[in-house]
């Protein structure tokens, strides 16, 4: 392998390709700049903020309030939030409550499998800091210890209105952010 590499380095065509790749890199920078400053950014962010599809993963008891928020009175679907079974099509993890050590591994695995951009809402006191169970032997004190968190929702459990507020805050965050720096 090393012999091949040295041969390539001396090859004038390879040198040209290297130069070419630098040029291509500059073009991609140009594309990023155009996308991030023009109306294309607004269109992409508009599409992202109104199709936040959360993963079907429930970590603990806040799922009862997540269920109530998805239900008839609070209806999260009017914000574009529709729980989805497939990881590849989802953009959002709502961490619903206490994260045990057993679940934390799976949660990280799910986060890694999701396509970019991906967002995380930590719902409930337990997902923020351990909450009521902070001194338990089997839990992780806070979701930020293993995944980056976008919005925290305090409460034990938070009311559905608080979750709606969190969704709106996340949408506002997406609206203001640049296209290539999300997730």
């Amino acid at each position: 392998m090393s012999a091949q590499r040295t041969a390539q380095e001396e090859d004038p065509v390879a040198t040209l390709a290297e130069g070419l790749s630098i040029w291509v890199g500059k073009l991609s920078d140009l594309v990023k700049k155009v996308v991030d400053t023009g109306p294309i950014r607004n269109v992409i962010n508009w599409a992202r903020m109104y199709s936040l599809w959360p993963v079907n993963i429930t970590t603990a008891c806040c799922s009862a309030e997540f269920g109530a928020a998805s239900g008839a009175r609070h209806d999260l679907e009017r914000f574009g939030v529709l729980p989805i079974g497939s990881l590849r099509q989802s953009d959002l993890i709502v961490i619903e409550g206490t994260i045990t050590k057993k679940m934390a591994k799976r949660l990280r695995m799910i986060y890694d499998q999701m396509a970019l951009p991906r967002y995380v809402i930590a719902m409930g006191d337990c997902a923020m800091s351990g909450g009521l169970f902070h001194d338990s032997y089997s839990i992780v004190n806070g979701a930020h210890e293993f995944v980056p968190v976008d919005v925290y929702v305090p409460g034990c459990p938070p009311r559905p209105e608080a979750l709606e507020q969190a969704i709106i805050m996340l949408q506002e965050k997406i609206r203001r952010s640049k296209v290539y720096e999300q997730g």
Partner: protein
């Protein structure tokens, strides 16, 4: 040229192996990231699409509550006790305060007993409605997801008027309850329960008499009477198998001896029977709520109880929405218990999961499994 590297195995498929009969079986891991499992994992072995082996893998929500209780004051433990079954909080709370009162020898005033029963029955309706809405999701029936969650808000509003919280009340304290009935509560409760009974008829029309449900639930997930008793099942799962066992009648507590209600049992033991037991219980609970607000006696709601737990042993149990919930409590004279053993209905019904799934088709798994009303948070504690 070496052979190309093998692709990594799919995450859901664990292994393929050959059983004794020579047929190839496949082991599937259902959950915890799955729309039909909740916070637990089922390791299902299928032959074709017939389920030949099921191993539940609980513990994803184990928070060590029994240990936490030992470190907290008995009053401060009340919110911790409620969290395992947040949709059925007051029933678990009731088991805890009953066992404390048994050690302390405190007697609760009759008005306090009635208020406890009132919140317990409202909680039972809310819990069953939540169960029903998830059943709708499992069967792909979105209307049945939206309707029960919408009607659940009727009772959540009532409970919020009474206690100040949506679903986690911490309403029952040793010696009584925290708050008295707010003005206008009785009329509102009667109005809402009567409206809800009309809604239950519509549920029957759209879901329980619908071939979409009946063809998938009748004869599926059969749990015989003997098997249910042998496995130690409890609550609606046991009554759906034709056993007439309910602590509210067998060992009456709080205001239940003074109320007129019936225990619903169904003899078949299939998914449909268990679902109908839930429906009947909601109707009975509506009747009970109306009786309570009519018959509730006047007087104090709370008697002064010490914060100290005297030396002694107690066993307090109640009928929660998912079956019998019990505490075995040992006091040693301080304000914390020496030991508290906590057993909930879902924990006992976990044994029934393999029994109802074996021999069914994989497509029938959601119907059979969710009819047990297994709430993983409550089972793991």
């Amino acid at each position: 040229m070496s052979a190309p590297p093998k692709p990594p195995p799919l995450t859901t498929v664990e292994s393929t192996e050959t059983s004794d009969s020579g047929a190839q079986t496949l082991t599937l891991s259902v959950g915890p990231q799955h729309s039909g499992s909740g916070h637990m994992r089922l390791i299902v072995e299928v032959d074709g699409d017939i389920i030949v082996n099921v191993a539940p893998d609980p513990g994803y929500v184990h928070r060590g509550i029994e240990k936490i209780i030992e470190l907290r004051n008995i009053i401060k433990s009340i919110p911790v006790i409620e969290r395992p079954s947040i949709i059925d909080a007051s029933n678990l709370n009731h088991a805890w305060v009953r066992s404390i009162e048994e050690i302390q020898g405190v007697e609760v005033p009759r008005r306090g007993q009635y208020l406890r029963t009132l919140l317990n029955e409202m909680n039972r309706i809310m819990s069953h409605l939540y169960w029903l809405s998830i059943y709708g999701v499992f069967l792909g029936h979105t209307t049945m997801f939206m309707w029960p969650l919408g009607d659940r808000e009727l009772f959540i509003d009532l409970a919020e008027k009474l206690t100040g919280a949506r679903i986690t009340y911490s309403y029952l304290v040793p010696g009584g309850v925290r708050r008295d009935l707010p003005p206008g509560f009785a009329e509102e409760a009667v109005k809402r329960t009567e409206y809800f009974e009309k809604r239950l008829k519509e549920y029957d029309r759209i879901f329980f008499n619908n071939p979409l449900f009946t063809s998938r639930a009748k004869g599926i997930g059969v749990l015989s009477r003997e098997k249910a008793i042998e496995l130690g099942c409890t609550g609606p799962t046991l009554r759906g198998s034709g056993v007439d066992a309910d602590l509210r009648k067998d060992e009456p507590y709080a205001a239940y001896p003074e109320l007129d209600f019936e225990i619903s049992t169904r003899p078949d033991g299939d998914s449909f029977s268990r679902a109908m037991v839930h429906m009947d219980e909601m109707r009975e609970s509506c009747k009970m709520i109306r009786q309570i607000v009519k018959k509730i006696p006047s007087g104090p709601i709370r008697r002064k109880a010490p914060i100290v737990l005297p030396r002694g042993v107690a066993y307090g149990r109640v009928e929660s929405a998912r079956g019998e919930c019990s505490f075995y409590l040992i006091g040693e004279g301080g304000d914390k218990p020496y030991r508290a053993r906590y057993i909930t209905g879902s924990y006992r019904n976990m044994a029934a999961i393999p029994a109802v799934l074996l021999g069914n088709r994989l497509a029938d798994m959601p119907t059979a499994w969710w009819s047990i009303d297994y709430w993983p948070v409550e089972a793991d504690r």
